[in-house]
Structure formats: structure tokens, C-alpha cells
């Protein structure tokens, strides 16, 4: 009995690999291995399979890449000079949006006030809306401080767009941590927070199901952040 099982093993694994490959290949979005598991044989280990599949594609024109907890096929980075399309259908981001995105990425979870503190100017709700609409930024929760401000973080779509396996791949993250520039306020003798995209932190509350985010100060009559 166990003999037959052993004999079948390579065949079963080959089939699992084909299924994994087909499911990830069929989708243009990164695929969660949890969604693949029901299609694999019961004893299959998706993590081992994905490693094997990634090795099979190493060096090819398309590669299997990790994006957060998901996996996707993407054209190889070194072929970008061939494929590069300048007429991208997305409008270029404004400087304000780009900086806001960077601050959220490196400082997350970050409230609007914290973003404004780094930039030294107030940000309009529209800037955050652009980033959320692009699918790169999400509301994570609410900080457990007076006013319960919304905390922002990045999404898996952000990782996908910028070709990052996870947040620790953010360019220059190590140096920034070393220089203390990711700490929120205090210039010296501080702890260095890591960008954090896990579950809610101790000082974050979950959002309500119908949470509309921070009230837009521009929408409110007499409460303006700058003149």
C-alpha cells in the first residue's frame, strides 16, 4: 500500500504543480495560496510547491514573484527596456500624492496628522482619495488617541505595483531605520519603528463596517487647517 503511494508521489506532485501554475497564470492579479489549496491533493504543501515552481521559472522571460501573501507571474524585470510602455493609462501622481504615498509606506500605520507633520503642510482629502482609488493605500483602523484619527497603510496592490515582495523590501529602509528618520517626532534616543502592515496594533481600533474615514476638514464650514 505504502509502496503504491510512493510510486504515485512524483505524478501527484507534477499534477499539483500544473494546477498551481495554471491557477496563478490564469489570473492577472496575485493569487493567494489559500485559494489554491482546495484544488491540490490533500497532502500537498503549497509553500513547497511554490518554491519548486519559482525555481522552474527562474531566468525565464516570465517569473513567479511574491507580493505580500500572494503570488503572480510577471515579465522579467530585465526585459523592461523592451516592453516599456510610456503611454501608461494612469495619470502621473502629483508630488504631494507621491510624497504622501512614501510617508504612508515607510511610516505606516500613519494618521493624516502624522503625514502632515512630515510634509510640513496639510494634505487635502483628495490626495488620499487618489491613493486609495489607485488601490495602493487603505484605511487600516483608528488610532486610540483623542479624535480617533484614521490610520493609513499600504495594500498588496501597492506591493504589486512597485514590485516589492513585502514591506521590508522598501528601498533604503535599512539606512532610514539606522539614521532614525522613521521615528515620528523625537530626534534622538528613540526607538525605530518598522513599517507595519500586519493586523491592528495595540493603539489601533478596527474600522466600523461603514467607516467613511476622517471628516474632510474642507467640507466643514469653520474648521480649516490653513488659511
Amino acid at each position: 500500500m505504502s509502496r503504491t503511494l510512493d510510486d504515485d508521489r512524483p505524478e501527484i506532485e507534477a499534477r499539483n504543480l500544473r494546477i498551481l501554475e495554471a491557477l496563478i497564470f490564469a489570473s492577472s492579479e496575485p493569487v493567494d495560496l489559500e485559494d489554491v489549496r482546495p484544488f491540490l491533493s490533500d497532502d500537498a504543501d503549497p509553500d513547497i510547491l511554490i518554491d519548486r515552481l519559482q525555481a522552474q521559472y527562474a531566468g525565464r522571460g516570465i517569473e513567479l514573484v511574491q507580493r505580500g501573501r500572494r503570488w503572480a507571474f510577471r515579465t522579467a524585470e530585465d526585459l523592461n527596456f523592451l516592453l516599456r510602455r510610456e503611454e501608461s493609462d494612469t495619470r502621473p501622481l502629483s508630488r504631494a500624492a507621491l510624497e504622501t504615498l512614501a510617508i504612508i509606506a515607510y511610516h505606516q500605520p500613519a494618521t493624516r496628522a502624522e503625514i502632515e507633520e512630515v510634509r510640513g503642510v496639510s494634505i487635502s482629502k483628495g490626495t488620499l482619495d487618489v491613493l486609495m482609488e489607485a488601490g495602493w493605500v487603505r484605511m487600516r483602523g483608528r488610532r486610540r488617541t483623542p479624535g480617533r484619527p484614521v490610520t493609513y497603510g499600504t495594500t498588496e496592490g501597492f506591493l504589486d505595483h512597485f514590485g516589492l515582495e513585502n514591506l521590508s523590501d522598501l528601498p533604503g529602509l535599512e539606512e532610514l531605520k539606522g539614521s532614525g528618520l522613521l521615528s515620528s517626532r523625537v530626534p534622538s534616543g528613540f526607538q525605530v519603528p518598522m513599517p507595519f502592515d500586519g493586523g491592528l496594533r495595540d493603539d489601533e481600533d478596527p474600522l466600523d463596517a461603514d467607516d467613511q474615514g476622517d471628516a474632510d476638514p474642507e467640507g466643514e464650514g469653520d474648521h480649516t487647517t490653513h488659511s
Binding site: 497564470f25 490564469a26 489570473s27 492577472s28 492579479e29 503572480a72 507571474f73 510577471r74 515579465t75 522579467a76 524585470e77 523592461n80 516592453l83 516599456r84 510602455r85 510610456e86 501608461s88 493609462d89 494612469t90 508630488r95 504631494a96 507621491l98 510624497e99 504615498l101 512614501a102 510617508i103 509606506a105 515607510y106 512630515v118 510634509r119 510640513g120 503642510v121 504589486d160 505595483h161 512597485f162 514590485g163 516589492l164 522598501l170 528601498p171 533604503g172 532610514l176 539614521s179 532614525g180 528618520l181 530626534p187 534622538s188 490653513h226 488659511s227
Partner: protein, 264 residues
């Protein structure tokens, strides 16, 4: 860490003034921190080694120039100017050990930190944009194969609904038997005929109830008989054929043929 006495205070102020002539307002900057960062970069040294005092003086001179040109400056530029003026004074006045306020050096370090952090985030943003971006340098599958979802309906029905549906249909199929239920109503003409017949030629006062006794005992006729014969009696009074009399309220209504009134 901060060299107050360092080089180019005057020179810096001069340069800021000339810049102001060129670009007379702050419209190109995203706030005072952005303006300060731009000025700091012109010192062409590492941000951690810039002269904060020089920077403060440069900023103050710049804002002053702008205001001389009577150009509106947003409030936060003025707030920054006030803070920098205070910083400048703290940096130039020797510190007492018992001073509760933050020292000039601490304030300068804070400003340096904020400038360095803003620059670091700008740098991070451009490094992000220089990565191989999806849809620009790296591509997803151009022809994704969608998953087609077949939906089946799981129908819901219970036995009670089933039986009710059956019974309702069968009842609908039962041929209805109609028996016409006749309502007794005395028409006014009918009441008048009856009344005239009952009164006949009697000139005695007789109550209406007495005349109608035979009819009033039948409950389904009682109301219509009373109402219609009363109305008819009024009509007969109007025609001068009958006289009506009631001694007190709710007393029996008496009637008799009017003498000489019958012109028939």
C-alpha cells in the same frame, strides 16, 4: 554640532534676496518646510552639517523681502518665520543651565531632523518610482483567463407552502353556487302607498307605530319601514293630505287624515 559662528550668514541673506527678485513669491513651494529644504540644499553640504543659524537668517530675510514687495504670504510661512526668529535668538544668547525652555541646539536639531526626514521621504518616493513598475516596466498576463462561475439555484419551499398552494388551487376550481340574497328596502313610493292605504279615511289620531306594527316586528324590515314611511308621511303633510302631531320629544308620532285636504 551646530556651528553658529560659521561662514556665510550675510552671503546667504544676499542670495535669498536675489532669489526673491527672481521668484518673488513662495508659490512654487509646498509650505515653509519645503522652502527651507530648498534653501538648505543650496548650502551644498550634508543636511546634518548645515548651519541652522544661517538657514534661519536666510529664511527671515526672504520672507522680509517678499513682504516688502507687498506679496501675500500664507500664515504658516509667518508662523515658521516667528519660530525661526525665536530659534535665532536662542542660538545667539548663551544658555543658562536652569532654563526650562528647550535649548537653541535642541530646537536646531529638531529642525534639522525634520528637514532630513522630509528629504528622506522625497528620496524614498523617487526611488519607489524608479523601481520596475507594473504596467510600465513589468507586465501582468495580458489575456487573463477569467473564472466562469455557474450559479445554481437551490430552491426553497416547505411542505406548508406546498399544501397551501394545492388547497388554494383546488378551492379556486370549485364552481361557486350563488343564491341571491334579497334585501328588503321600502322605496319612498312604496312606503307612501302603504301609508295611504293604512290611514285610509281615518280622521282619528293614530300613532305611526300602530299603523306599521305588522312590519316593525320583522327586524330586517324595521329600519327601512320606519325611515321610508316617516319620509313618506312628511311628503303627505306637504301635500296637505295628512296631519302629524307629537306631544313631546320621543313621544309616539300621531297622524290622521286632514279634513278637507283630500282633493282626490
Amino acid at each position: 554640532m551646530i556651528e553658529h559662528a560659521e561662514v556665510w550668514p550675510e552671503e546667504g541673506a544676499e542670495r535669498a534676496a536675489s532669489d526673491a527678485v527672481l521668484r518673488v513669491d513662495v508659490g512654487g513651494y509646498e509650505g515653509p518646510l519645503d522652502l527651507l529644504l530648498d534653501m538648505a540644499r543650496r548650502q551644498k553640504v550634508d543636511l546634518s552639517r548645515i548651519s541652522v543659524l544661517a538657514l534661519a537668517e536666510q529664511y527671515l530675510a526672504f520672507i522680509e523681502t517678499i513682504r516688502k514687495h507687498r506679496i501675500e504670504v500664507a500664515a504658516d510661512y509667518l508662523v515658521m518665520a516667528a519660530w525661526l526668529a525665536y530659534l535665532k535668538s536662542r542660538l545667539m544668547v548663551p544658555q543658562h543651565d536652569d532654563d526650562e525652555e528647550p535649548s537653541g541646539e535642541e530646537m536646531a536639531a529638531l529642525l534639522q531632523f525634520r528637514l532630513a526626514r522630509l528629504e528622506a521621504m522625497r528620496d524614498a518616493a523617487s526611488r519607489l518610482m524608479n523601481r520596475s513598475l507594473l504596467g510600465r516596466d513589468v507586465f501582468a498576463r495580458g489575456m487573463p483567463e477569467p473564472v466562469s462561475i455557474t450559479r445554481h439555484a437551490l430552491w426553497e419551499a416547505d411542505l406548508y407552502q406546498l399544501l397551501r398552494a394545492y388547497a388554494a388551487q383546488r378551492e379556486r376550481g370549485i364552481p361557486a353556487e350563488y343564491s341571491l340574497h334579497q334585501r328588503t328596502v321600502w322605496g319612498l313610493q312604496e312606503a307612501r302607498d302603504i301609508l295611504e292605504r293604512l290611514i285610509g279615511q281615518s280622521f282619528e289620531w293614530v300613532s305611526l307605530d300602530t299603523y306599521l306594527a305588522a312590519y316593525l316586528s320583522r327586524p330586517e324590515e324595521r329600519a327601512t319601514a320606519l325611515a321610508s314611511s316617516f319620509s313618506a308621511s312628511l311628503e303627505l303633510v306637504r301635500l296637505g293630505q295628512v296631519e302629524l302631531r307629537q306631544n313631546t320629544a320621543f313621544a309616539p308620532l300621531l297622524m290622521r287624515r286632514r279634513k278637507g285636504g283630500n282633493d282626490q
